[in-house]
Amino acid sequence: MALVLNDEQTMLRDNARGFLAKNAPIAHLRALRDNRDADGFSRALWKNFVQMGWAGILVPQDYGGLGLGHVEAGVVMEELGRTLTPSPFLSTAVLAASAIARAGTDQQKENYLPKIVAGELIATLAVDETAKHHPEKIAMTATRAGNGFKLSGAKTFVIDGHVAKLLIVVARTSGKAGDTAGLTLFLVDASAPGVRSERTSTVDTHNAARITFDDVNASADSVLGKIDAGWDVLEGVLNVGRAAVAAEMVGASEEAFSRTVAYLKERKQFGKAIGEFQALQHRAAHLYCELEVTRAAVLKALQTLDDSYDRAGAIVSVAKARAGLSATLAVNEAVQMHGGIGMTDEFDIGLFMKRVRVCQELFGDSNFHADRLARLNRY
């Protein structure tokens, strides 16, 4: 497949860019932060996303969704990255929707997907338990009790976990931490007895939660996919999340970069535009190359998820690792090249740095993915 967006994808991108620039520019993020918004995102804006079909972007048309692919989801993520817009798009439309659409029974799909499409359900994936991403080290337990299970343990950094009504929880039904076998996914109502959630306020003004589970009942019907064999489903969903976050970083870093290039042309010192100094020109040109190379890898990863979902692991790791590194370089250079003003809260450039730091950690940082690639290539 050609590594370019087709006409429909380009139209989606242009529409998303136009819409977000008008309705959710960075001032929108600032307002949520400065007003200490209770939800941390705008429900009115989310309703607009729903009206445009974005909540159901990955949901099959049979369930009322747009039935589009990962490339399209990535296009939206990239635009959200440009404007640093907080929304349940990643948690609900990307992670939860794709997990349920891929692994759900007809009944589960019927129960949840139309609600996601309609904007009636915010859902998320609860996977990490430690400060660094280590999905195979999941220790949270699900022990059999009658026909169902009892869940106990704690999850951390659950995206939108403070507002989600449905949690897709990964727990261990057998084996020990470190085994990929023995994991099972459960669909858990966030208001079930024993579930406690604590909002974590993070550096980037986006939202996550620490969630504890204390003997929470999960019925047999709530199992998503197969018991003990949740790893493949989980890896698939994580790959989708990784590629989506990589796309978000592409958007954030390119926006930071283009603001920086504009500043190089405008700011004068020593009687000329600072963009005339070769010390800055070469760094900017190098950064441009890094961003272009990342863009190709991220697009390929999204396309591979569409074409051969089960074989996307390696390219997704390449994309996530590269996006993390090049976005980190982009935001660091952005602040540096802005000089003193780049350090101020009033100026937007620092906000890109904050979001990129979070995206770098989500679903494995660059080191995690380099290690994963090395394992896949057996060295």
Binding site: A2, L3, V4, V261, L264, K265, K272, A273, G275, E276, Q278, Q281, H282, A284, A285, H286, Y288, C289, E292, V293, T294, R295, A296, A297, L299, K300, I315, S317, V318, A319, A321, R322, N367, H369, A370, D371, L373, A374, R375, N377, R378, Y379
Partner: protein, 393 residues
């Protein structure tokens, strides 16, 4: 799509039937490359046969038009041919500056006679070309070149000297930048000339590289007479052609780092540093190799994407600077890792075991990648100016 699948099948069958077994082994050294030319000595019958068969199909230059000795293939077909050759481990039948650089420039700027005269000979490997751009005083600032060509009626009289002329001592003809108007601004007085290296007044002096081989020369022109019919394009308009040709040279050099070796870096390192639980025992080296592989794969995709962008008309003309810069820096990184993974084995300079110091020589040779065809710094200047639009670049 169906047609392409047929083409793939036919191509595979043809290659299997026609590529001699000796030409389906990875090449062992630079000597295995067939450069063609008047004085070429084929290394084996297989090398000759392979060239002749491929040239007869036009597949030494698959995308050139058939009337000039090419295969007339579409971009997709040519891609399939390359892929299939890679899968079957077929060597390239012919490599040359004529194919990589002069051909594309002649196809765009040459007149009909020049195309008919020169292109088929390039395609068949009969004439080997060298590139006369750089001069002792004009490297990165190429447009400051001083080699003169004076108007003498039906001929030009060429005087001056070129340097770093790769394979000048082995080449049959040269494509050469000369100053035809010394009074015009530097970019506007340059012309693009072709001439025979056997012309009276041409001489070469080989220069040895740090890798120990001597592929390039200083080249002297002492009252060389060149027929005016050998001027490509218009008089004093050679700079546009020179730049166009450079974009092809840069694409070619930039792509060199992506040709994969038989053994991956991970395998090389496993032999020297050992493994522990399936992971390289030297964890720092392991991280460096993984980081490299991530960038190398992403770069290969960047080259694919550049091609796809060109096809839909969205390619930036300066994208070859990106590919050249990134690809050559990557190749240098790869060779540093080959040395690091190889340890003291990689330091051997002579003898069977090291295949005459293959690693060390390739490592040293790779350092030229970010110099030849325009240095990395020059590529960054071009990107800053033409893509980012930074002032004063």
């Amino acid at each position: 799509m169906e047609n392409l699948e047929n083409f793939r099948k036919e191509t595979r069958a043809w290659l299997e039937a026609n590529c001699p077994p000796e030409m389906r082994r990875s090449s062992q050294s630079e000597d295995d490359t067939c450069w063609g030319g008047r004085h070429w000595k084929f290394q084996s019958d297989a090398q000759r046969q392979w060239l002749e068969r491929m040239a007869a199909k036009g597949w030494t230059v698959p995308e050139w038009p058939r009337e000039y000795g090419g295969g007339g293939l579409s971009r997709e077909e040519a891609k399939i041919l390359r892929q299939t050759m890679r899968e079957l481990n077929c060597r390239s039948p012919l490599d040359s500056f004529g194919i990589w650089m002069l051909g594309p420039a002649l196809l765009k700027y040459g007149n009909e006679e020049q195309k008919r005269e020169h292109l088929p000979k390039i395609a068949r490997g009969e004439i080997r070309w060298c590139q006369g751009y750089s001069e002792p005083g004009s490297g990165s600032d190429l447009a400051s070149l001083q080699t003169r060509a004076e108007d003498k009626g039906d001929q030009f009289l060429v005087n001056g000297s070129k340097i770093w002329t790769s394979y000048a001592d082995k080449a049959d003809w040269i494509f050469c930048l000369v100053r035809t108007d010394p009074n015009a601004p530097k970019h506007e007085g340059i012309s693009f000339l072709l001439f025979d290296m056997e012309s009276a007044g041409v001489s070469t002096k080989p220069i040895i590289l740090i890798s120990g081989s001597s592929p390039f020369c200083q080249t002297f022109f002492d009252d060389v007479l060149v027929p005016k019919a050998n001027l490509v394009g218009k008089l004093n308009k050679g700079w546009d052609i020179a730049k166009y040709l450079l974009t092809h040279e840069r694409d070619m050099i930039g792509g060199m780092g992506t040709t994969s070796e038989n053994r991956s870096l991970g395998q090389i390192a496993a032999d020297t540093v050992g493994s522990h639980n399936g992971m390289l025992a030297d964890t720092a080296l392991r991280s460096q190799i993984a980081a490299f592989e991530i960038d190398a794969l992403a770069f290969r995709l960047t080259m694919d994407r550049a091609g796809d962008m060109a096809k839909v008309g969205h390619a930036h003309p300066a994208v070859s600077s990106l590919l050249k810069y990134y690809g050559t820096e990557l190749n240098k990184r790869r060779m540093e890792l080959v040395m690091s993974a190889g340890g003291t084995d990689a330091l051997e300079w002579e003898g069977e075991r090291s295949r005459e110091g293959r690693s060390a020589r390739a490592w040293l040779r790779s350092k030229a990648n970010s110099i030849e065809g325009g240095t990395s710094e020059v590529q960054l200047n071009i990107i800053a100016k033409r893509i980012l639009g930074l002032p004063g670049a």
